[in-house]
């Protein structure tokens, strides 16, 4: 498995490696991921006037061999073996190694060492940037028009927000449930709170503290009688028998929001 992974890695790296065997005079070139058998190689001591200079960029173990990234620069036209510019670190011979042949080319004719004369060339028309600006502005304007008027989806019509249920709307079903004997404790509690709220609104006690509002409602002739009886029915351990819930809540069964307009305190 390891060998397979190593092989795959090697193939992947080799695919990316540069193998530049030809370069012009003075230009850098690379021969990468090249496997050279034997012990480690290093650049030979430099000699003045050597036609090629080789540098070992990186070395990796490759099984029992070594893999190299080499960088070379040619200074004279011709064909050279890079191995001639490398030596074994342990001093052993390089016999039996395949040559690493590179070719150094020259772009100048032989013997021509001076640069050529410059040729006159007409300059580009001035104002290219301004033209570009106009083109971009026109394109932007067209884009804006397209966005604004073409292909814009019409906003789907949303349903008008539901108006919150009035107190009367919430009161009626609770009263019906209580009268039907099907109300839970939570619904009875809600009914009591709604009755307080109903009378609070009707007696214009909205800005009064909750406890003061309850006291004021209890003082009211009609509301007080109702609230006391509801309290007796809901909170007394043994509710009095004369509390007739059906009769008590009957007026609230058909109450509507506009049937009991708020009256002045």
């Amino acid at each position: 498995m390891r060998a397979l992974i190593a092989l795959l890695l090697t193939v992947a790296l080799a695919a990316q490696a540069r193998d530049q065997r030809t370069a012009s005079v003075g230009m850098r070139a690379f021969v990468e991921q090249i496997v050279i058998p034997g012990t480690q190689l290093e650049p030979a001591p430099s000699k003045f006037g050597a036609p090629v200079v080789v540098r070992v960029v990186k070395t990796w173990p490759h099984g029992e061999q070594l893999r190299y990234d080499l960088e070379w620069v040619g200074f004279e036209e011709g064909t050279f073996n890079l191995l001639d510019y490398l030596v074994r670190r342990d001093g052993s011979t390089k016999e039996g190694l395949e040559p690493i042949t590179v070719e150094v080319t020259s772009v100048l004719p032989p013997g021509d060492l001076e640069p050529g004369d410059l040729e006159p060339k007409t300059s580009e028309r001035l104002g290219g940037y301004s033209t570009l600006q106009v083109v971009v502005a026109v394109a932007w304007g067209i884009g804006l028009v397209l966005i604004l008027f073409v292909g814009r989806r019409r906003k789907p019509r949303t349903a008008p927000p539901e108006t919150p249920a009035t107190l009367a709307d919430r009161l009626r079903p609770l009263v019906e449930r209580v009268q039907g004997g099907a109300a839970s404790d939570a619904q009875k509690a809600e009914l009591e709170r709604l009755l307080v709220a109903f009378w609070r609104e009707r007696l214009d006690l909205g800005d009064v503290k909750a406890v003061d509002a309850i006291v004021a409602i209890k003082r009211h002739e009609q509301a007080g009688a109702l609230l006391r009886q509801v309290e007796a029915w809901l909170h007394m351990p043994n509710p009095p028998r004369d509390v007739d819930v059906q009769h008590l809540l009957a007026p609230y069964r058909s109450v509507t929001a506009d049937r009991f307009p708020p009256e002045a305190g």
Binding site: L167, A189, E192, R193, V215, H235, M236, P237
Partner: protein, 333 residues
């Protein structure tokens, strides 16, 4: 229940006892009926009460008056920065004669303890007191002592002068069943205070005399007994709490927990305190069952010190008081 029913008779007697306390306290403390009611609620439910108000609102006089009308042991501790836990709880003292350590019990061994300006003491003193309030026991040396029963702490704090004070954290505030905010008296009540003060006169002591104070007015008056108080405490436990009432309590408590402006809502202890305090209020008002009016009347005192506004709400200028009133109003909408 009929008039000859023993339970009714007892209920009537309890109500008379509570009315007598209110009447007696009313002879020295004017215009503080709600505070008297809150003290009675705390007394009847073994809860603790924190009174918040500026100096001079008769907080100390009120507590002293209640203790004198019910024949309860009363002690007052003025909290200061240099107070030590042993100054409250007590300590072990080396007896010079016997050469043995003996226990010296502190002022906490009383029925009614007035902790004046509790926020002036260091946190370790506050926590020593609050621990005793919770457990109703204290440890001195290696010995554990139960506090007398009934045991009630009425603490005060001044909301204005905050320099050199240690604000009580929420967890410790939660130990107080009620936090009542005292306001100034109505002009009519204040006139009555001044009129009564002019009639106090002087008190002869030996060959000399001193000016009489409101504290002297209750001396020599009839006192209610501790037995009557215990019976009243038992009667509170008989006050009926309907399922509908519990639904109301849960509704309010939950709304504080889910309110967008509140960072901290009511603890379960707040709900328990609401029910306990409502039962006591119902008894004081002559009912053997609680009604929503009890709940709404006590909500501010029970809930307000247990909730905390969020940072954003404070920055926007909201107040806990207004948020709570909104919650109470919304509950009944």
């Amino acid at each position: 229940m009929t008039a000859s029913d023993p339970a009714v008779t007892r209920f009537v007697e309890t109500r008379q006892f509570l009315d007598q306390i209110k009447t007696r306290v009313g002879t020295v403390v004017v215009g503080q009926d709600v505070v008297v009611e809150r003290v009675l609620i705390a007394l009847l439910t073994s809860g603790h009460l924190l009174l918040q108000g500026v100096p001079g609102l008769a907080k100390t006089l009120l507590v002293a008056a209640v203790s004198k009308t019910v024949d309860l042991a009363f002690a007052r501790i003025q909290f200061t920065i240099d107070l030590l836990p042993s100054d409250i709880v007590g300590s072990e003292i080396l007896d010079q004669k016997t050469h043995e350590f003996r226990i010296h019990k502190g002022p906490i061994f009383t029925n009614l303890l007035l902790a004046d300006e509790i926020n002036r003491a260091a946190p370790k003193v506050q926590s020593a007191l609050l621990e005793a309030m919770q457990e109703r026991r204290v440890t001195i040396g290696n010995q554990n002592f139960a506090l007398p029963a009934p045991f009630l702490v009425i603490a005060t704090q001044n909301p204005v002068e905050q320099a050199g004070t240690f604000e009580l954290p929420e967890a410790q505030l939660d130990r107080f069943m009620l936090l009542h905010r005292l306001g100034y008296l109505d002009p009519e009540d204040e006139k009555e205070v001044l009129r009564r003060n002019t009639r106090l006169g002087v008190k002869r002591e030996g060959k000399g005399a001193v000016a009489r104070t409101e504290f002297d007015v209750l001396d020599g008056q009839d006192k209610g007994s501790a037995d009557q108080l215990v019976r009243a405490m038992e009667d509170v436990q008989e006050v009926h709490v309907s399922e509908t009432f519990i639904e109301h309590v849960i509704e309010i408590v939950n709304r504080t927990r889910n309110h967008p402006l509140l960072e901290l809502g009511c603890s379960p202890r707040a709900g328990i305190s609401l029910v306990k305090a409502s039962r006591a209020r119902a008894l004081i008002h002559g009912r053997d069952y609680v009604v929503p009016e009890d709940l709404f009347a006590l909500a501010e005192d029970v809930i307000l010190h247990r909730i905390r506004l969020s940072y954003e709400a404070v920055a926007e200028g909201h107040t806990s008081q207004r948020v709570l009133q909104e919650i109470l109003t919304e509950v009944a909408q």
